[in-house]
């Protein structure tokens, strides 16, 4: 087969800018072959190279005594004591999910699970944060149905409990949904596997599923804006096979336990290219690959296709040569492909052989280290205009507007399609705040949450970035967990626009300040840029996934109050309505500034909640929707009514930060108030739980009536 000539059109079609191509010519001193052009485009696209974001990501706090391994590996590794570690990361699969929702979302879950078990950890929990366009947009219901089905189909079959997540709707996602998948795994702290290759002449082994043409050029696609040719991109979406992934997990963990593995890297974006370059580059070695040995699903695949294929459920490994027979036996047991496809070489070369020909011969270290890096121009986001007059609304009407909107309605339609209990360690299932999973075979537990309020980030990227972290911190504290560390999944529009880049820079600054103040460093993450359709960017959505530790399952704070428990707000209420859920859902108003985040107060109040767990019958964080929504969710979840004394809209629906709603037994109130006073924490009794109706000030509604609205709205508004 003759390969296409390298023309300016071909170069542009690979997403390479003229100056980037000039850099390629400079590095290799000749025109690249077709395969080489493909390799460069795979390594240098935004998705793999982080060329627009690297400069800013470096500013994030990533270290701490609890951090065993920060960003740069497949996932972050955090110490949880007793020689154990939790390994986690969050990653987007936005573009593929918009093109083919079921497979796009499924392979997003598959990819993040692989990131975790590549490091030697058995996945123990998953979450997913989903953002869709307006419920009545013609594509939305189809996307919701497909994405939820896809997430479920993969996680359920693989056998990892999905214990949390978020689902939101906003018109800015009409043409560009977000699918952010989180996974966490458990491993012994001294048995973590990394991607750094070592030793010359070591076999490079290909494991898992066969290579097909699916996903060729996927990472390049994910680094471009969408337009009306989107449907033509369907063939670049990969197809997931959770059954193969489950076998790959078991085979990899067995192989790792055998001591045969030197280094391992999963084949994710840009498959064979990215994984081989990463292992070689980290180890200061070259890699020689013989593509004739690659297990292939389709006939007559070219070197170009094999190097760029994003077929799922594949791993690349550098193996101890003496242990090859044992390794082969393990993979045969699980009926998976095992092939020696190359070796490590001493010189700085990435040498690709196919059909007796050299298809690529590149300086390996230059592929990642010489990748372009941009200091994109950016402008700070201007200060938000003050919030004008707020239209009048009665409290009960306001509550109904929130609980009847798909963004704030009960999400059982979603999470009941996910197996949340497989592995039999789930302690707190989805629905209220953070999910909690026992550390298998111990009395410890881990809590997981994912949070961001994109409206805040758009109005004020710095405060919005801080708020996303602060809310995650609160959700962990609310179940009694000590926040440990964070993963960030940064979804933004086109970074070549200075105002979008300004959102990105601001959000990173805010996130950095918050993770430093709250001692929950960033240990892994992912950046997804170019989330735009026809020039319209999404709301900036830096999703924060966070993990907390409970020394004992007995320390878990419940989420459901009992009848006659008192409702007490912890933290100061000022009634901030700017960018609030109430204004957005009841009136379509998205104006004013985001609420300010006082990180000192966040930490003080979070520590107070954890210290006073003995006096707290139940707890929830206060975030968007404010006191009224959180109180309703707690009461409804327990199947009991509620009385809130105030009827002041800003008090009920304001979104001031650093606040919790706690349920306290009447006999414990005095002790709780005294403890708060001693800690310098503001507390105020705002009502009580119990009865069969919801009373807000002078208004009353039957719990059953509100419950029907709350539980029915999601499917109803989406026509599902």
């Amino acid at each position: 087969m003759t390969e296409p000539a390298i023309t300016p059109e071909l170069i542009a079609a690979h997403g390479l800018k003229p100056d980037e191509y000039a850099r390629i010519l400079e590095i290799i001193g000749r025109e690249p072959s077709f395969t080489e052009l493909g390799i460069f485009s795979a390594m240098w696209n935004e998705h793999c190279s982080y060329k627009s974001s690297k400069k800013w990501l470096r500013t994030l706090p990533t270290t701490g005594p609890q951090v065993i391994c920060g960003p740069g590996e497949n996932a972050g590794v955090v110490d949880i004591g007793d020689g154990q570690a939790v390994i986690f990361k969050m990653e987007s699969h936005n573009h593929p999910s918009y093109i083919e929702p079921h497979q796009g979302a499924a392979t997003g879950v598959g990819g993040i699970l692989r990131d975790v078990f590549t490091m030697g950890a058995r996945p123990i929990a998953a979450m997913n944060a989903l953002s869709f366009g307006l419920p009545d947009h013609p594509k939305t219901a189809h996307l919701v149905k497909g994405v939820v089905e896809g997430v479920g189909s993969y996680g359920n079959a693989f056998g990892v409990p999905t214990v949390g997540g978020e689902v939101r709707f906003h018109r800015s996602y009409n043409g560009n949904c977000l699918v952010n998948a989180f996974a966490a795994g458990l491993a012994d702290a001294d048995k973590i596997f990394y991607s750094i290759a070592s030793g010359v002449g070591m076999p490079v082994v290909y494991l898992g599923a066969k290579t097909g043409r699916d996903g060729v050029g996927g990472a390049t696609m994910a680094s471009a804006e969408f337009d009306d040719t989107i449907e033509e991109k369907r063939p670049t979406v990969q197809v997931g096979d959770p059954f193969t992934e489950k076998r790959l997990l078991e085979a990899c963990l067995e192989l790792m336990a055998s001591g045969a593995v030197i280094s391992i890297q999963d084949m994710g974006a840009a498959g064979l290219t990215c994984s081989a370059v990463e292992m070689g580059d980290k180890g200061g070695l070259g890699i020689k690959l013989n593509l004739d040995a690659v297990p292939q699903r389709e006939a007559r695949m070219t070197a170009y296709e094999m190097m760029l294929s994003e077929s799922q459920e594949r791993m690349l490994m550098v193996l101890k040569p003496s242990m090859e027979p044992q390794a082969r036996a393990i993979f045969e047991k699980w009926d998976l492909d095992f092939a020696i496809v190359g070796e490590t070489i001493p010189e700085d070369r990435f040498l690709i052989l196919h059909g007796g020909e050299i298809k690529a011969d590149l300086p390996l270290s230059k592929l990642s280290s010489s990748a372009p890096e941009y200091d994109r121009p950016w402008v700070p986001t201007p200060a938000a205009a003050p919030l004008g007059t707020v239209p009048a609304i009665e409290p009960m009407e306001a509550l109904k507007a929130l609980i009847g909107s798909p963004s704030y309605a009960h999400k059982a339609w979603v999470w009941e399609q996910y197996d949340s209990q497989v592995m039999a360690d789930t302690v707190v299932t989805p629905g209220l705040g953070a999910g909690v999973v026992r550390v298998h075979g111990t009395g410890k537990a881990l809590a997981f949450t994912s949070d961001v309020t994109p409206r805040y980030v758009k109005a004020n990227p710095i405060e919005g970035g801080k708020q996303a972290v602060a809310e995650a911190y609160r959700n962990l504290c609310a179940v009694g967990a000590r926040p440990l560390a964070t993963t960030d999944n940064l979804n933004f529009g086109n970074p070549e626009k200075p105002e979008i880049m300004g959102q990105f820079v601001g959000a990173i600054q805010g996130i950095g300040l918050a993770v430093a103040a709250l001692d929950m460093p960033i240990v892994s993450g992912n950046v997804s840029l170019y989330n735009e359709t026809d020039g319209q960017g999404i709301l900036p959505t830096p999703t924060i996934g966070a993990v907390g530790l409970l020394a004992s399952v007995d320390d878990i704070i419940a989420g459901r109050p009992g009848p006659s428990d008192l409702a007490v707000v912890v933290g100061e209420t000022h009634g901030h309505l700017g960018q609030s859920a109430l204004l957005a859902e009841a009136f379509g108003i998205e104006s004013g500034d985001a609420p300010a985040v006082d990180l000192v107060a966040e930490r003080r109040n979070g520590e107070f909640i954890r210290a006073q767990r003995g006096l707290i019958a139940a707890c929830a964080d206060l975030s968007d929707g404010g006191l009224a929504l959180a109180a309703f969710e707690m009461a409804e979840g327990a199947g009991i009514g509620l009385t809130l004394d105030s009827q002041d809209i800003p008090t009920l629906f304001g979104e001031d930060q650093a606040r919790y709603l706690v349920a306290v037994k009447p006999g414990d109130l005095a002790a709780f108030a005294a403890a708060a006073k001693a800690a310098g924490v503001a507390v105020a009794q705002v009502g009580e739980f119990g009865g069969a109706s919801v009373k807000i000030g002078a208004q009353v509604s039957a719990l059953a009536e509100l419950s029907a609205v709350y539980r029915g709205a999601f499917a109803q508004k989406l026509g599902l």
Binding site: E149, G152, S153, N156, A157, F158, G159, D241, P242, F243, T244, K246, R247, E250, K333, W334, D335, A412, W415, E416, Q417, Y418, D419, S420, Q421, V422, M423, A424, D425, T426, V427, T429, R438, V553
Partner: protein
Amino acid sequence: MKAAIITFPGSNCDRDLAQAFERAGADVVRVWHKDSALPAGTDVVGVPGGFSFGDYLRCGAIAAQSPISTAVRAHAARGGYVLGICNGFQVLTEMGLLPGALMRNAGLKFMCKTVGLKVAMTDSAYTSGYVLGQTIQVPIAHHDGNYTVDAETLALIEGDGRVAFRYAENPNGSMGDIAGVLSENRRVLGMMPHPERVVDPLNGGTDGQPLFQGLIGNMALA
């Protein structure tokens, strides 16, 4: 009492089932599907939930052809106990050890939630620990749990009192609200809900415990 828990390559509730048996006091042996024999002295075989071979076509159909299946059939033919949960139930119908088939849920969606189950008979080792008519809370997690059987067989199993559990509120379209069904000798039980997920109060209840304890207790008497 020795329980042999089978692992197919796509099983994912095998560890959970093994633990539930251990918790109830059984000696547990894990068995790989490519093995051709059960461990000597096996009293009960546990066929766990999961997606045995991916289950992209008919759930459990390939598992029923695994080498271990011959041994499981022989064990059942000898009057041995076999408990199949979720995918395990699907596998047992495919092996021909239980009548009927598990079709796609009537609502077409995967469903994971805790449901009420009515104990429909107590005349079996599995159900002797419950009170007849008692409602227990047990989670389901399946896409294909819609129990379907021809009218004649349905009449037979109903008339014979072989329905072990019925859904209090039918979640998946199963005929006769059937959630679990027994073999003629009442020693093979298949059920879609997951009793092994409710043996520890921390996980949301202990309504699954009497099933395992009853089974082991009956065997100690035998």
